[in-house]
């Protein structure tokens, strides 16, 4: 395996150690665990805390998004494995004095089991914490079964918008309902172009032929609509956007925030060409665009591929989207 690492068992700890050293002006470890990343300058306890538990191997998410105006904490699991409910609860406990706490969980089985356990532990300890389940990947379940969908790159909109609004002191119930509203206005579809290598097994995570792409693959190689021969960006984008447009009724004048996320090896050159084609597709339906996000944020190691996420926005969402954040790896 050609990765620049030391001991395999130390990958996550070495990475987090480097991360905290490099960004000590903005983030720190919790007192009790080097798997819990906190803001150096915590939020006022009058405000609701926003945290997430998730597996690592997808950097910069989610550790890179801890910062003012974004996340209060990230509880970090091993590579591609959710952290335990116990550890997530430890993260929640840090905010027991806050005006509530929202645990974001991307809809993947291990994350959900451990997240639910953490929330139960919080209840037992009389800590005010709620779980907000995030899902957006239209390839993983049909219309009508939205809550069966996996969490994809479009969950970003929830992180950023709730992070910003909670910073302003909005109360937990309003945050939760806005979070759900954002989720319901978000659609994501991804495509895998080539597999990266798991740092644990040292093997490719999934297999694709040399001229093949996979529409709808999840962030760990989970299956979706199936394999296709590779074609031009324009054709691929049309196919993907048609599916998104089948799933959600956009109408003239809608103002959409696009997020083009690279999964690791796909170049920014390609992501910008893809964006150019997404923009043309939307223009043809007279849909307006607001402040797109284009880069690698939610990766699957050095896999090639990308996802398109669209948030059909209202003015509040747009203002929160562009509000400032000190997170080391979130940059509009």
């Amino acid at each position: 395996m050609k990765k620049i690492i030391n001991n395999k068992d130390q990958i996550v700890d070495d990475m987090l150690s480097g991360y905290i050293k490099a960004n000590s002006d903005r983030v720190k470890f919790s007192n009790n665990s080097k798997r819990i990343i906190l803001r150096s300058h915590p939020k006022n306890i009058e405000k609701t805390a926003i945290l997430i538990g998730n597996g690592s191997g997808h950097e910069p998410i989610a550790m890179g998004w801890v910062g003012e105006g974004l996340l209060d904490a990230n509880v970090v699991g091993d590579i591609f494995a959710a952290p335990s409910g116990d550890l997530i609860f430890e993260g929640i406990e840090i905010f027991k004095e806050n005006s509530g706490c929202i645990l974001l969980i991307s809809n993947h089985a291990g994350d959900v089991m451990n997240g639910e356990m953490a929330i139960e532990l919080a209840k037992e300890h009389n800590i005010d914490a709620d779980l907000l389940l995030m899902y957006d990947d239209i390839a993983s379940a049909p219309r009508g079964s939205e809550d069966q969908r996996r969490g994809g790159a479009g969950t970003t909109f929830i992180y950023k918008i709730l992070g910003a609004l909670s910073e302003m002191g909005e109360k937990k119930e309003t945050l939760l309902s806005l979070g759900k509203f954002v989720r319901d206005q978000t659609r994501t579809l991804s495509i895998a172009v080539a597999s990266g290598v798991s740092p644990i097994s040292g093997k490719k995570i999934f297999h694709l032929d040399d001229d093949e792409v996979f529409i709808g693959m999840g962030v760990h190689g989970e299956s979706g609509y199936g394999r296709q021969k590779i074609s031009s960006s324009k054709k691929i984008i049309k196919l993907m956007m048609d599916k998104i447009f089948d799933d959600y009724q956009y109408k003239e004048g809608d103002i959409v925030i696009p997020f083009i996320n690279g999964s690791g090896a796909t170049t920014l050159m390609e992501l910008l060409i893809i964006y150019n084609d997404v923009e043309e597709y939307l223009a043809q339906y007279k849909i307006k665009i607001y402040k797109p996000l284009i880069n690698e944020y939610i990766t699957t190691q050095e896999s090639a591929g990308f996802s398109i996420s669209l948030l059909n926005s209202n003015e509040q969402m747009r203002n929160l989207w562009i509000s400032p954040s000190s997170a080391p790896y979130f940059h509009l």
């Binding site: 952290p83 335990s84 409910g85 291990g110 089991m113 356990m117 644990i200 097994s201």
Partner: protein, 199 residues
Amino acid sequence: MHSAYKKWILNSYDKINSDYVELDKLDQLVGDGDHGSTIYKGITVAKQLYLNKLTSPLDETMAIISKQMRIEMGGASGILMSIFFDESGKIDKSNLNSSIIDIFEKSIDKIMKIGKVKAGDKSILDIYIPVLNFLKKNSDFQFKKNEINEILSLSLAKTKEMEAQVGRAKFLENRGLGFIDPGAKSTEIILREYFESLL
């Protein structure tokens, strides 16, 4: 019971230690290639703790071990596979058969609830359930190791023909059909050592 349980944990550790690379390979075929490494982390911490906790009552020891396994392993398998270790602490020498049955029933209940899983979904449950059925059928006699071992082997083999409804294999194009389930395999190892040490 402490000495039987010590034997169980140490032998399970030895077995997993020699098999975990194989288990990773199996999980490469039907998952993300880490099940061996994950259960190895769990059983390693179980072994270390067991060697440190010999003075505590068995149920406390096993509760601590279960929690630490869950934390070390993380993911779906950590929360689900640690359940049996916790429940196993409630063994009762004077009521051996019924307490074992109780351990299995409680474990299965929790796994089903937390894992949103049922028999035939290609998971660790497809080992626990046939064992429980056997135990219940034979609750009035002394449990026979060789009979249980046969159940274990048979149940594991059956997972080969199942299509996964849970876990990562659920998302594979063939849902893992044709391969045994990695979690079932490690569960089979651990239960085999359990009865080997206990009976």
